[in-house]
Amino acid sequence: MSAKPKVAFFEFTSCEGCQLTVVDSLQDHPELLDAVEIVQFREAISEKGEDYAIAFIEGSCSRPSDEPKLQAIRQQAAIVVALGACAHLGGINAIRNRMPLQEVREYVYGDRAEWFETYEPRPIKDVIKVDAVIPGCPIDRREFIKAVTHLLQGRMPFIPDQPLCMECKLKENICVYTRGKVCLGPITLAGCDAICPTYGDGCEGCRGLIANPNIEAMRQVMHEHGLTDEAIDAKLSMFLTNQIMALEEAG
């Protein structure tokens, strides 16, 4: 690609941790600023260009009035990339999707619930067409840079399509199950370098499910390691609520 592609960053319901990770990626790759032209990035810059070709969207869509904004971005951008678990899966925001919406609203806003607009948080692919995903909560810095090189090459970012256990074992981590904890590694996509198990915690599934996951077997394993059905449900709903609800719907 000859001219620097113009890129823009947008955020919807999110913690902005993924955008922060983008900023952090400059620490090791300041040349990123030579490779692309950032025309919009509200968290970090005041400039505002509307002629972007690649849009990175962070955050889930969690209210109807976000939808037209997403559509406007889709209109402009040749390539839309979902940045992080919120945009990719609905993320942590979707924990509440198994709870009755009205109850959730009233718990937090009491009798003022109607003041604030919301609905079930969803991945942006449920609202607009998404061309590529950079998964994770937050995204992985190296993977972000890699994804940008792929986009510069004119191809879609390659995201590993294998379970996390594969990466975890490459690092020769001690399986967290043998350390008395549970982990969603067997059903979660790799690519984060198994960072949670590496630091002694079980994977929470932030990168989303592998293709054809064996959820039933995963539940069985967690059961065997002492989790109640309720605790298993909690594990599977940290990041995976929407994906698992979709699987349930599909039967």
Binding site: T13, E43, E47, N93, R105, Y109, C137, Y199
Partner: protein
């Protein structure tokens, strides 16, 4: 007296975390409307914690904010630990403090260099700055990397720490790793000095408004974790009494709630900490404050950024000290301290980069049944509006552009974390 009319409508303020609008309406010299509107989507974190195992809370609430993730996690763990009678070990306490310094450094460097400095250096953002003053940007990136690496060594990563758990840690840094970080921190002093020098040359707008400053306080250290709530207006409160200090109210133009203590509003954050805890600062930080022309009690909110620079100095020095203590003790791979009960209520409080943060949980049989989080920016909102109300008339003779910029810079000086502050809740525990 001017009879000027003016409408300022900054839609989606940039270089802050989260979505906020500034709306000012002056008609014939009279200030009709002056609001910082928080238009971020409501997040419902408190509702999301309910019914889940207490071990999830820190991981979920860390996702309130990507910048204060360690702060949220630490506060959450403290709330849970108090609820369940967990006594963390001395090593845990030390590691948490060190981790916290990493986050304060990371956040302050980001704010001071990348979000605020462009305003003073006449550029729109860090991107043109990278061209016009590459050494400044590279220095910021270098310092920020070290801050991030500090967090990484202790908890796996800064944004959404991994190894922090109720009662302790699930992973420990090696002593070579700590020693290497110490060496880098020592070497970073040159960058820190350059930072002090840079900010001592930036002319902060001349504005002041006396208000109540609130921060956590401990007599023997510059406090970030635990302590008591202290006010420059006098008085201390145990953190369990946080509701008596924060007195939240709902306002319609904001999906975040306003707070007030002994006056109509109060301020939290670096400047508040500086005003409350000046005595506990590291001598090098006090020296830096002198260089920067910052003395307690300072009532210019624009100086919050300068107070952050002072804290950068403090945190680097204290991090070196903490590493020395840790290395002298030796790191042990210890199991997290266990809960002594599975039901209870607890309040955790930390002074995170942007100010005092409270988490309050009620746990029953290991499950969270009630949660309340009060976020620094939420506490600052009323104070920011009060500042704006005082500032606008003072600068009404300027152009609309200048006024807008002054207001933007004012809000930015608070380093608001809008995505954090949108929880707006009115939770009554039974």
């Amino acid at each position: 007296m001017t009879t000027k009319s003016l409408k300022v409508d900054v839609h989606h303020l940039t270089r802050v975390e989260g979505h906020g609008n500034i709306v000012v309406d002056v008609q014939n010299g009279e200030l009709k409307q002056c609001e910082l509107q928080i238009v971020e989507t409501p997040r419902f974190f408190e509702a999301m914690l309910r019914g889940r195992p207490y071990t999830d809370s820190s991981h979920i609430t860390s996702r309130i904010c990507g910048i204060c993730a360690v702060g949220h996690a630490t506060t959450s763990l403290r709330a849970t630990e108090k609820a369940l009678g967990v006594q963390p070990s001395e090593q845990t306490v030390l590691l948490r403090k060190l981790n916290f310094h990493g986050e304060i450094l990371d956040s302050h460097i980001l704010h001071a260099y990348m979000l605020v400095a462009p305003d003073f250096l006449g550029v729109g953002s860090v991107i043109p700055l990278a061209k016009s003053a590459p050494e400044v940007v590279l220095r910021a990136l270098r310092m920020k990397k070290l801050a991030g690496d500090l967090c990484k060594a202790i908890s796996g990563r800064h944004t959404h720490p991994i190894a922090m758990t109720v009662g302790g840690f699930t992973h420990f840094p090696g002593s070579e790793e700590l020693a290497a970080l110490r060496e880098r921190l020592v070497a970073m002093r040159a960058d820190v000095d350059a930072t002090v020098e840079l900010f001592s040359t930036l002319q902060m707008p001349d504005f002041s408004r006396d208000t109540e400053y609130i921060a956590l306080h401990k007599p023997d250290e510059y406090c970030f974790i635990d302590g008591v709530i202290a006010s420059t207006d006098g008085g201390t409160w145990p953190i369990e009494d946080y509701r008596r200090v924060t007195n939240e109210t709902i306002v319609r133009h904001s999906s975040a709630k306003h707070t007030a203590n002994q006056r109509e509003s109060y301020m939290v954050g670096a400047l508040a900490r500086f005003n409350v805890n000046y005595d506990q600062l590291h001598p090098r930080a006090k020296a830096a404050a002198a260089t920067l022309g910052l003395k307690p009690k300072n009532t210019n909110p624009y100086m919050n950024t300068v107070a952050q620079v002072v804290e950068i100095v403090h945190c680097v020095e204290d991090a070196i000290r903490l590493i020395d203590v840790l290395l002298a003790r030796g790191i042990t791979w210890e199991a997290p301290a266990p809960p002594t009960r599975l039901s209870g209520e607890g309040v955790g409080a930390c002074d995170v980069p942007r100010g005092t943060l409270f988490h309050n949980y009620v746990i029953e049989d290991g499950k969270v049944v009630g949660a309340n989080c009060i976020i620094p920016t939420g506490q600052n909102l009323a104070n920011i509006e009060a500042d704006m109300r005082k500032l606008v008339p003072e600068i009404l003779d300027r152009t609309q552009e200048q006024i807008t910029q002054a207001l933007e810079m004012l809000v930015r000086a608070y380093d608001p974390c809008i995505s954090c502050s949108t929880h707006l809740l009115n939770v009554q525990f039974v």
